[in-house]
Symmetry: C2
Subunit: 201 residues, 2 copies
């Protein structure tokens, strides 16, 4: 990818870097060069951080968060409210919620949203496990924190219907979240305000 | 960087990824999550590619290219014209020249440009080695391929002066309208240069 006279080791590095989201061929070449110029200060530490993460991090069998413990540290933290579950599309949204610091319950990561267009059905998402968790009885409130997109809201509607007979309260984040906006792009204050004004469904 | 309840292994991964050029905190989090979701298919191979590169790649003692051999494969290729040296600012520019396939000589990587603003002096760049190479006598032409910026042109001027007594021809890349470029998008300097160097048809 860098050119015919580039060593295969560098070419492989660039090819793999280009598979990261947001890195095109040109920025992958820049990143590779940056790493090659700092073998001890950046490339080796980053390689080691990746090896350690690949070795230690797994998906929480309760909430689908990624963590070094299973169940994850959030699921087992004694200080957190086990009666509240915040449902998010992806781990990045869980991180955004945690950065905002506006929620002290537990999470459930769906792994996406329902999508007619992309052919994503309820069984493709982590929804059955959510219904199972809530049906087990300890949950008092489920807060739906999906993106305010059509697919996000379709997913929220589907989950609300399927949680009706569990008796748990179902709420959603207030519409302080801009229509079409994604949680991970929002500032902490907006997320905190939306959490505070959440509505019963 | 991902939040207070994120495992330190993930936090370290994000912190190091954020040090790559072009990756801010948000895109570093996205990249980390992408890696965590593909430990075997991407994270481990990338870690391994980095470890191998850190181990095998070094800076060519002749031209300052990065390669698994020293002198590099370009410096030692029997098919390449050893009498022509193309001087570039950075290895990324060498790669760009190689992709273009328009040059079959050797290179010399300066490692930057002279800059009064940033306090970069001739001794901070790989210039003395270039003068040494050319003075050794085999070089017939030195092609200056610095960026068409003020600092790039200052550097070209400095090198031209210091190569005068070696007897080698010194040239620079032509300025003009890029192939496929639209006049309306070009700066005035480029248009003026293209007009000045216009060719009879
Ligand atoms: Zn968990
Ligand atoms: Zn070389």
């Amino acid at each position: 990818m860098a050119g015919p006279s580039v060593s295969p080791e560098i070419d492989r590095l660039i090819t793999l870097l280009a598979r990261l989201p947001g890195l095109g061929p040109r920025s992958a070449r820049r990143a590779a060069l940056h790493l090659l110029k700092a073998p001890d200060k950046l490339m080796t530490p980053l390689a080691s951080a990746m090896t350690i993460a690949a070795d230690r991090i797994s998906t929480c069998s309760v909430c689908a968060n990624v963590d070094s413990a299973n169940p994850c540290h959030i699921c087992t933290a004694p200080g957190r409210d086990q009666t509240a579950i915040c449902v998010v599309q992806d781990v990045s949204d869980l991180w955004a919620m945690e950065r905002a610091g506006a929620f002290r319950g537990t999470y459930h990561v769906l792994g996406g949203t329902l999508s007619a267009l992309d052919g994503i059905r309820p069984e493709d998402l982590n929804i059955a496990a959510l219904i199972g968790r809530v049906s087990a009885g300890k949950t008092e409130e489920v807060i739906l924190a999906m993106n305010a997109t059509v697919d996000g809201q379709t997913t929220a509607h589907y989950i609300t219907e399927h949680l009706e007979k569990t008796g748990a309260r179902v709420s959603r984040l207030a519409h302080g979240v801009p229509i079409g906006g994604e949680l991970d792009y929002l500032d902490d204050g907006t997320i905190a305000a939306a959490m505070k004004s959440r509505r019963l469904l």
